[in-house]
């Protein structure tokens, strides 16, 4: 059993206890505990269930590499699944529950899977569940999904109450990792004057050194760390951040820092997480190393733990993970755990050393303390189910014949160490196999390169494969100085910290224990604890030809759990290599993908949530709309009123009212969103002649002309009215969606194709509020406002004039998109609301009626005007829409002209715009297709046209529609059949002229 000892624990404050609950059971920890150490202090060995077999799982590690101790944290809106207990700092009233079991952690039905383990091998899914076909969806898959999945989902109906933010930081040197290597590297770089940022993922500086012991500059690691941190804090050019993890490295020196600001606090204010987006000229990854488990039967039983973790819990938290702890190792380091436990008064029945002659000085020290050491031996299997009860000792060389059973309640294992090379690899850094130490280390000749083609990441200390304190510090100092020099700073004069040399006996790679373990043992020797991948699974994958490490990984799911294989990748790779009879480096390594450990989606989204999820563009009249029943329609980032709902009305009624009020008297439209672009210069006319399909250079000052724009690929992209202001100035109106797009389009052609033309453009869309005054009484209203002559002669249709109305400086365009007498009035935006109010007040006598986009659409459709986005969809050329009148024959070039000459564009079979009327006056379904006889070669019904816009016309009291029909204009009065979306219902419609209302244009020309 694991207990809190009476003394020890450098990170905890025994005097301040912290209450928390696990699976409803209230427990007590100490301030400074992690959830994991607190659970161990309460002898909570069993913390979860594995993914596939639902095997009992205990804490294996003490840090980010933990694969088992994942809990549901918090409740209600604060609930968060899959929290790693080993990196969760304990806080008062923390609530945790274990995952992936039913009905309870102790008694899990899913554990039945374990009894079928012999059948549920790697890839078994692929070989069965195929018959009968329907069963996969309805029986097999639901079962598989239910038994997988780990944590409980957050409540979909609550919103995350926390806030998040981003932060952009630019530094010369980013040091990731605040262990002794990171601190020394930072100091060396800092001394050079470079701007340095140091990130440490935990709440403490110093990393493993204080636990592993030793001496630096004659000081204890703890004292040296304190001294060094103080020195760094004193440097103005150095910034230190704890609880901030280097999560990912991307191109051009971009690094993500995941800062957890309030996760360790009970009550929180301010952002919970801050995602740092760091641009670093150089990155020093001092990310340390991770200990490897050993693959022996039963290495997944709760109580089997990494030797380094057992040491961490003892020294950092004053916890003995067992009263009798067996240590099993292939290297010297694990003896430190045995020695520490012994010195803490705990029983260490035996150290099992796979090496024939065991280790060096540390082994002798252990023996001197009276610890039994068995060399050339191995663990055949671990006894126990939900807890370790003992181990079976056997010869390393054999297949697992037990020579002795040793009782114990914990096993501390060490299979050697692997440098944390994730950050090195994220952006393309390559690895090399270090045969002597049996791990992959960074290949400094194949480093990630940045914008300048130079290497921008170096690894320092253990992350670079230096495993002893003395050499860790040497390497870190070297790397820190080297980086400073590479940045053009003077070589710093820091003195290299000294640590006593320590000679250790080399480790012996052990990828399976015992070396030729029998089948039944291999089937119980875990590689991936969370995903339940065993040595036998990897061997099976190899046997079946899944030889690439990527194949094996995907076939067995090795390393694809939430720990991303931090403990399992190397052991799995070695097992694969051995199975293939290959050398490990020939088999290769898997790709490391960001993030290093999972980061919250909330942090990724940052401040962009709720109101500021996206920009919301508002016209100067937006607030009036809001206050007057606007039923909004998103148009790009704008919101435009679809209609204005008056008391009790539904949308349809409102639109009906707005159309009739406008046709019969007076309507008002907020047209501010329409694009307004000034084009000026001696070549302005020539330029617009290239941009528009029709001739703009011949337009007279004071006049307006409707124009079409096409892409160079020939397709209609925008339309609008162009007003000529003076000899070399034009003002181009675009659609609401077109303003920025078309301005960019203009600048692109001016800057990159016709840069010698003398033209300047300015997008002045937002300088103005624009109000359309529409209807038979429009002129009366303007005359009432007074200040300028808007009579038929001075301001004829398609003319514009500057002046003042009711004292407002205005520009009035007499243009119409509704077929009514209509003026569009532009006033400076800051005056827009006042002008609107004035117009409403003056228009009251004519029941001036604000209308929305739907009434606008209906009225333009009644007149047969096309709408970009309805009649066009990116595949339509002006010729399809009968707009030949707007395509200049005189011009030998305009954007899109050559494209429109391609064979398919001139094909007479192209569908053409027509009007459509149902025989019974009903409304044609939106988007319906007209069928032609027969099917095509792929068995699809042949078609001959489609509906592009369809409405009920309040003016005409019947359904009207526009559509594209093969040879349409030549088929007037012909009746064709449209099919409903059920594939059956027929809608007969007659082909008619698209101008349904006032074909002579008498109303707009009065």
């Amino acid at each position: 059993m694991s207990i809190r000892l009476a003394t020890g624990g450098r990170l905890i404050d025994r005097n301040s206890t912290v209450k928390f609950t696990f699976n409803g059971k209230s427990m007590t920890g100490a301030d400074g505990d992690t959830l994991a150490s607190a659970l161990l202090a309460n002898d909570q060995m069993l913390v979860g269930r594995s993914f596939k077999y639902h095997r009992p799982r205990g804490i294996v590690a003490s840090g980010a590499e933990e694969p088992n101790a994942l809990v549901n944290l918090g409740q209600g809106a604060h609930h968060e699944p899959n929290q790693r207990a080993t990196t969760t700092e304990l806080f008062p009233n923390l609530i945790a529950t274990s995952q992936n079991h039913w009905p309870s952690l102790e008694y899990d039905i899913g554990a039945l899977n374990g009894f079928f383990a012999r059948y549920l091998t790697a890839g078994f899914y692929y070989k069965t569940f195929m018959q009968p076909r329907a069963f996969w969806k309805h029986v097999y898959e639901p079962f598989i999904r239910q038994s997988a999945g780990l944590g409980k989902a957050p409540d979909p109906e609550t919103r995350d109450p926390d806030i998040y933010e981003h932060f952009y930081a630019f530094v010369d040197v980013l040091v990731v990792g605040g262990g002794v290597a990171g601190l020394q590297a930072a100091r060396a770089a800092g001394e050079s004057g470079a701007k340095v940022l140091v990130l440490e993922q935990t709440a403490f500086w110093g990393g493993r050194a204080p636990v592993d012991g030793g001496e630096i500059d004659g000081l204890s690691p703890d004292d040296w760390i304190k001294k060094t941190v103080q020195a760094l804090e004193a440097m103005p050019n150095v910034t230190l951040r704890t609880r901030n993890m280097g999560a990912g490295v991307y191109d051009h020196g971009y690094v993500l820092g995941y800062e957890r600001l309030t996760d360790h606090l009970a009550n929180t204010r301010g952002p919970r997480h801050r995602l740092w987006r760091i641009r670093a000229r150089q990155v020093i990854a001092a990310t340390g190393a991770i200990e490897r488990p050993i693959s022996f039967a039963g290495n997944d039983v709760p109580g089997v733990m990494l030797a380094s973790a057992a040491r961490d819990y003892l020294i950092n938290f004053g916890i003995a993970v067992g009263r009798k702890t067996v240590v099993v190792t292939n290297n010297d380091d694990a003896y430190r755990t045995a020695i520490a436990l012994k010195k803490a008064g705990q029983d260490v029945p035996v150290v099992i050393d796979a090496r024939e002659f065991g280790g060096g000085a540390l082994m002798q020290e252990a023996k001197a303390l009276g610890i039994r050491v068995e060399t050339g031996r191995a663990i055949a299997k671990v006894k126990g189910g939900k807890r370790v009860t003992g181990v079976a000792l056997c010869a390393m060389a054999g297949g697992g014949a037990m020579v002795e059973e040793i009782a114990c309640d914990a096993v501390a294992m060490s299979g050697g160490w692997s440098p944390v090379v994730h950050l090195w690899s994220h952006c393309g850094g390559k690895l090399t196999w270090d045969d002597e130490q049996s791990f992959f280390r960074p290949d400094s000749s194949k480093a990630p390169t940045g914008a300048d083609g130079q290497a921008f990441v170096v690894c320092a200390g253990a992350a670079d494969g230096h495993m002893h304190l003395r050499y860790v510090l040497q390497d870190a100092d070297l790397k820190g100085k080297g980086v400073a020099v590479s940045l053009g700073c003077d070589r710093p004069q820091t003195t290299l910290p000294t640590a006593p040399d320590s000679v250790e006996t080399p480790l012996m790679p052990v990828w399976l224990m015992p070396a030729n373990a029998w089948d039944d043992l291999r089937m119980k020797a875990w590689l991936d604890f969370q995903n339940d991948v065993k040595v036998s699974d990897v061997q099976l994958a190899a046997r079946e030809g899944y030889e690439s490490v990527e194949h094996t990984k995907r076939y067995t799911t090795l390393g694809m759990a939430t720990d991303q294989g931090k403990l399992s990748n190397i052991n799995g790779l070695a097992t694969l290599a051995a199975s293939l009879g290959e050398d490990i480096p020939n088999v290769g390594t898997t790709t490391f993908r960001p993030p290093y450990t999972p980061i919250s989606m909330g942090a990724i989204a940052g401040e962009a949530r709720g109101e500021i999820f996206q920009p919301l563009r508002k016209t100067p009249l937006h607030d009036w709309h809001e206050a007057n029943g606007a039923h909004w329609e998103p148009v790009g980032h704008w919101r435009r009123p679809y209609c204005f709902l008056r008391d009790g009305e539904d949308v349809e009624q409102a639109v009906h009212r707005e159309v009739l009020a406008t046709r019969n008297s007076l309507g008002l439209l907020d047209a501010s969103t329409l694009g307004k672009i000034i084009v000026k210069g001696p070549d302005a006319g020539r330029f617009l002649d290239m941009l528009y399909t029709n001739m703009m250079s011949t337009l007279k000052p004071g006049k307006c002309r409707y124009g079409l724009m096409c892409s160079e690929n020939g397709f209609l992209s925008d339309d609008g009215v162009v007003a000529r202001i003076d000899e070399d100035t034009f003002l181009c109106h675009t659609t609401t969606g077109g303003a920025d797009r078309i301005h960019a389009h203009m600048e692109e052609w001016l800057q990159t194709e016709w840069w010698d033309w003398q033209v300047y453009t300015a997008n002045v869309t937002e300088q103005y509020a624009q109000v359309a005054v529409v209807g038979p009484n429009a002129r009366k209203l303007l005359e009432k406002l007074g200040g300028m002559d808007v009579g038929k002669e001075t301001l004829p249709f398609m003319g514009w004039v500057d002046g003042t109305l009711a004292g407002f400086p205005v520009r009035v365009y007499r243009i119409s998109f509704s077929g009514e007498l209509s003026y569009e009035i532009a006033v400076p935006a800051h005056l827009g609301r006042a002008f609107w109010d004035k117009v409403l007040e003056a228009g009251a006598e004519w029941d001036a009626t604000p209308y929305g986009t739907e009434a606008l659409h209906i009225m333009r459709a009644e007149k047969g005007f096309i709408m970009i986005g309805d009649e066009t969809d990116g595949t339509i050329i002006p010729q399809d829409l009968g707009l030949h009148w707007a395509i200049s024959k005189k011009k030998d070039d305009y954007l899109g002209k050559r494209a429109q000459a391609r064979s398919h564009m001139t094909d007479p079979e192209r569908w053409q715009l027509v009007g459509l009327e149902t025989l019974d006056g009903s409304v044609l379904p939106d988007g319906a297709y007209a069928v032609a006889p027969g099917n095509n070669a792929n068995g699809q019904r042949n078609t001959q046209g489609r509906v592009t816009s369809t409405y009920h016309s309040p003016t005409l009291g019947k359904g009207i529609a526009m559509g594209l029909v093969r040879h349409g204009p030549d088929r007037m009065d012909e009746v064709i059949t449209f099919i409903g979306d059920d594939g059956e219902t027929e809608h007969k419609a007659r082909i008619v002229n698209p101008v349904f209302f006032d074909p002579e244009g008498e109303k707009q020309n009065v």
């Binding site: 191109d251 940045g450 914008a451 300048d452 083609g453 990159t752 840069w755 000459a901």
Partner: protein, 109 residues
């Protein structure tokens, strides 16, 4: 996450301040051009593995278009230059040759 120095305003621009504009130095073909030339102009692209010349617009910035020489395999940026030119500056070509001997792109090398 790429960065480029805008040759027009000198700012060190982040990818998110820029708009990628595709292949650079494409000759326009208009009315009268052959089907081949026109198809090539609109659609055929180099898509090289290695040195590439491309267009970017400093859209959240000075608003200017510029050209960049970049390696599509390593993301190394060899240099940027204004868009008002028919081919890359000599010193940039020399720099690329120095870093990528034997490189070629269309008729450049």
């Amino acid at each position: 996450m790429l960065t480029f120095e805008c040759p027009c305003c000198g700012a060190h621009a982040d990818e998110t301040e820029l708009h990628a504009g595709g292949e650079a130095h494409i000759k326009r073909f208009g009315p009268g051009a052959s089907d081949d030339d026109f198809e090539g102009y609109l659609f055929t692209r180099e898509n090289p593995k290695g040195v590439h010349f491309e267009r970017w617009r400093h859209v959240n910035g000075c608003g200017k278009w510029f050209h960049a020489a970049r390696c599509t395999m390593t993301m190394e940026v060899f240099g940027t230059y204004p868009a008002q030119t028919f081919q890359p500056p000599k010193d940039l070509l020399d720099k690329i040759t120095e870093k990528r001997p034997g490189w070629s792109w269309r008729d450049l090398s």
